[in-house]
């Protein structure tokens, strides 16, 4: 326990910290990829391209916050993309039907709508005791189908949306887009909430060992419901911001985005088996994926390759997590074998 456990304790030297934590390796990877692409094409770090990168990653990063809470509890939420689609169109239709409606009210309504849709998931999972995968696979299609039926071929265009609202997605504050600021603030809230507050620790506890969590007196179904409500509300906010970012919304808005969100979260070190990971890592995962796809664009790789790369990265991340967990377990066994 004296000498051989030293490297396991980590913390010696900055490079050790950087390499040992998932966040550190993600930062290194992002830096490496940025340098590589910049050397091939200097325009990669031009202010415009950086702004685009930040805007591209923002909505995914926002959704990643909710997904992290879910995956930490060993659950999954596939329905977020459909919630984003519905709330994006809802925000647009509010602007069309009620000209002069305050933007903040629209955002609030979108969040409440997301909360309600998340509530359907929450009720089915926590009290109907249906596995999250099945529930959210079902609601992914139900919500999207409802959206198609409601939208019925209509479209919201940028001209229907007030400029002040679109500014969220275009204007910047100290060089950083307002959209990104919103995500950063929420990131801080989630990071502190998950790290310091009781509810956050309970999310981790449920994911590491559900039975132990029950024995520790955690109301697991209530926490599950909370998680899916949070995920729904975040998706509602993302829907409103989707409209601000793109201006144009039809029935297909955000279709398939759940795969990018889950991939980002898992690449960011939130283990799919629950209980491990941080929101900062997960958001860095989203950033890595975004940088990676811009790199592919800059290297003129056909866009058809994107999805395959994303799938491959998700598989790699899952495999890496499993390998690390296995090694950690082995090390613990060696460490305590003398007992």
């Amino acid at each position: 326990m004296s000498t051989e456990s030293k490297p396991a304790a980590g913390g010696q030297g900055w490079h050790n910290v950087l390499l040992r934590s998932r966040e550190g390796s993600l930062v290194l990877l992002i830096a490496f990829m940025t340098v590589l692409t910049t050397s091939l094409n200097p325009r990669f770090i031009s202010p415009q391209s950086l702004k685009d990168l930040m805007l591209n990653v923002s909505i995914i990063a926002l959704l990643v916050l909710g997904q992290t809470v879910i995956i930490l509890m060993r659950q999954i939420d596939l329905s977020i993309s459909s919630i984003v689609g519905i709330t994006a169109f809802l925000s647009g239709i509010l602007f069309i039907n009620h000209p002069g409606i305050p933007s903040i009210l629209v955002v609030l309504i979108a969040v409440v709508a997301g909360l309600l849709l998340g509530g359907i998931n929450a009720a089915l999972i926590a009290w109907g005791r249906i596995p999250a995968l099945i529930t959210t696979l079902g609601t992914l299609y139900i919500f999207r189908g409802a959206n198609y039926a409601w939208v019925h071929g209509r479209q919201v265009n940028a001209v229907n949306v007030p400029g002040s609202f679109l500014a969220i997605g275009t204007s910047t504050l100290v060089g950083i887009p307002i959209l990104t600021w919103i995500v950063l603030i929420l990131l801080v809230v989630f990071a502190i909430g998950l790290r310091q507050y009781r509810i956050g620790r309970e999310f981790y506890a449920i994911g590491s060992n559900p039975n132990a969590a029950v024995l520790a007196g955690i109301n697991v179904s209530q926490r599950l419901a909370t998680g899916f409500l949070i995920s729904g509300a975040i998706a509602g906010l993302a829907g409103a911001l989707w409209l601000a970012r793109f201006g144009t919304v039809d029935a297909t808005a955000a279709e398939g985005i759940e795969l990018s969100v889950i991939t980002s979260t898992v690449v960011g070190g939130v283990a799919i088996t629950g209980g491990v990971g941080t929101v900062v890592g997960a958001v860095l995962g989203a950033l890595l994926l975004s940088v990676f796809s811009s790199t592919l664009v800059f290297l003129r790789v056909p866009s058809f390759w994107q999805q395959a790369f994303q799938g491959a990265m998700l598989l790699l991340a899952i495999a890496a997590d499993a390998y690390l967990a296995h090694r950690y377990a082995l090390r613990l066994r060696v460490k305590w074998s003398h007992v």
Partner: protein, 343 residues
């Protein structure tokens, strides 16, 4: 969890899920006939059967996988990949039979990749197959891009659209009937089938009884890949079209059919007959709605709701039953307690 599971099983044993499903199918047929005069016609029934043949094919190996307590979400992507690959090979003027063999092999490879990651690295199948869902669909786009291949020779289109002479059974559906029989024999009349139930019931116990879990799961995932590829080929000939997005979202219907067919989420339970009946039920519902000019988006809502209800309903019944039992026991305890005090 195990409490409610046990009472679900007890309930299922008492009533018989297949009986309920068969009744529902009967009600759906009667309802369809009453609602629409075009329902009970030969053409409509060959349409009805043809329209769910791909999903039906996919659902067979999938139900075995779910019985072993795993899942395969990548089925629809393997279908799309196989369809795209067939298109690419035909573009390069490869003879179709050779193309079919290559597609089936590619399906086997895809399934083997799933199986390898799940069995060898002990990764959760849910996570792995979400990854391969993206990966295989990505491959399909790499293979064919946004192009479409449609100039298939007419004899293959005839296979896709034709019916068995003098009946209303579509030719591709014959494939499903044969495979359903094979899977029925495999699951209910061989040791392999018993082993599949054993793994789903209690994996640890199955291992200690000498079941080669890794090999069996690997084979199931490979079977899922091959049959998804076969479904992709059927889809291609039925529509005479190869596109990278063929069959997107089919996994929902297939999974819905499996769970509606009485395969439980906890694994270890379910029959081929149940799955076939639930496929028929979903096919009839979709057909009736289509005949009534209901938009395809509503069909999605219906399928999604069926998936959720198929699990919610048994859960609710089980928990009500459990609560009732607890109440009875409580009463008994108070009665006994009262008696002992009186003594």
């Amino acid at each position: 969890m195990s409490q409610s599971q046990r009472s679900t099983r007890r309930l299922a044993r008492r009533v018989g899920w297949e009986t309920i499903l068969a009744l529902l199918v009967l009600i759906a047929v009667i309802g369809g006939t009453v609602l629409n005069k075009d329902f009970l016609t030969v053409e409509n029934w060959s349409n009805l059967l043809a329209n769910f043949v791909e999903i039906a094919l996919i659902a067979l190996p999938l139900s075995l996988i779910v019985i072993t307590n795993e899942i395969d979400l990548s089925v629809a992507s393997m279908l799309g990949l196989s369809s795209s690959l067939l298109g690419l090979l035909w573009q390069y003027k490869l003879p179709i039979p050779l193309g079919i063999v290559i597609c089936l092999l590619a399906g086997a490879l895809c399934g083997a990749l799933n199986g390898f990651l799940i069995v060898r690295f002990r990764l959760p199948s849910l996570a792995v197959t979400i990854g391969t869902l993206a990966l295989f669909r990505g491959f399909a786009y790499i293979v064919l891009g946004d192009k479409a291949v449609a100039d298939y020779p007419p004899e293959y289109a005839e296979f896709g659209l034709g019916v068995v002479p003098y009946t209303f059974i579509p030719l591709p559906f014959v494939l499903f009937i044969i495979l359903a029989l094979i899977f029925w024999v495999l699951l209910h009349h061989t040791t392999v089938g018993r082993n599949i139930y054993a793994i789903g019931g209690n994996q640890m116990a199955a291992r200690f009884s000498g079941v080669n879990i890794s090999r069996l799961k690997m084979l199931l995932f490979i079977a899922s890949g091959v049959i998804s590829a076969l479904a992709g080929i059927v889809f291609t000939f039925r529509f005479s079209s190869s596109r990278a997005d063929n069959g997107t979202g089919f996994e929902l219907s297939a999974i819905a059919a499996v769970f509606l067919g009485g395969v439980t989420v906890q694994g270890g339970k379910g029959t081929v007959t149940g799955v076939v009946l639930s496929l028929l039920l979903i096919g009839i519902i979709n057909n009736v709605l289509t005949l009534a000019d209901v938009a395809s988006e509503i069909l999605r809502i219906v399928t999604g709701s069926l998936l959720i209800i198929s699990i919610l309903l048994p859960n609710l019944i089980a928990s009500t039953h459990e609560r009732w039992r607890l109440m009875q026991r409580q009463k008994e305890i108070t009665r006994l307690g009262g008696a002992s005090v009186a003594k």
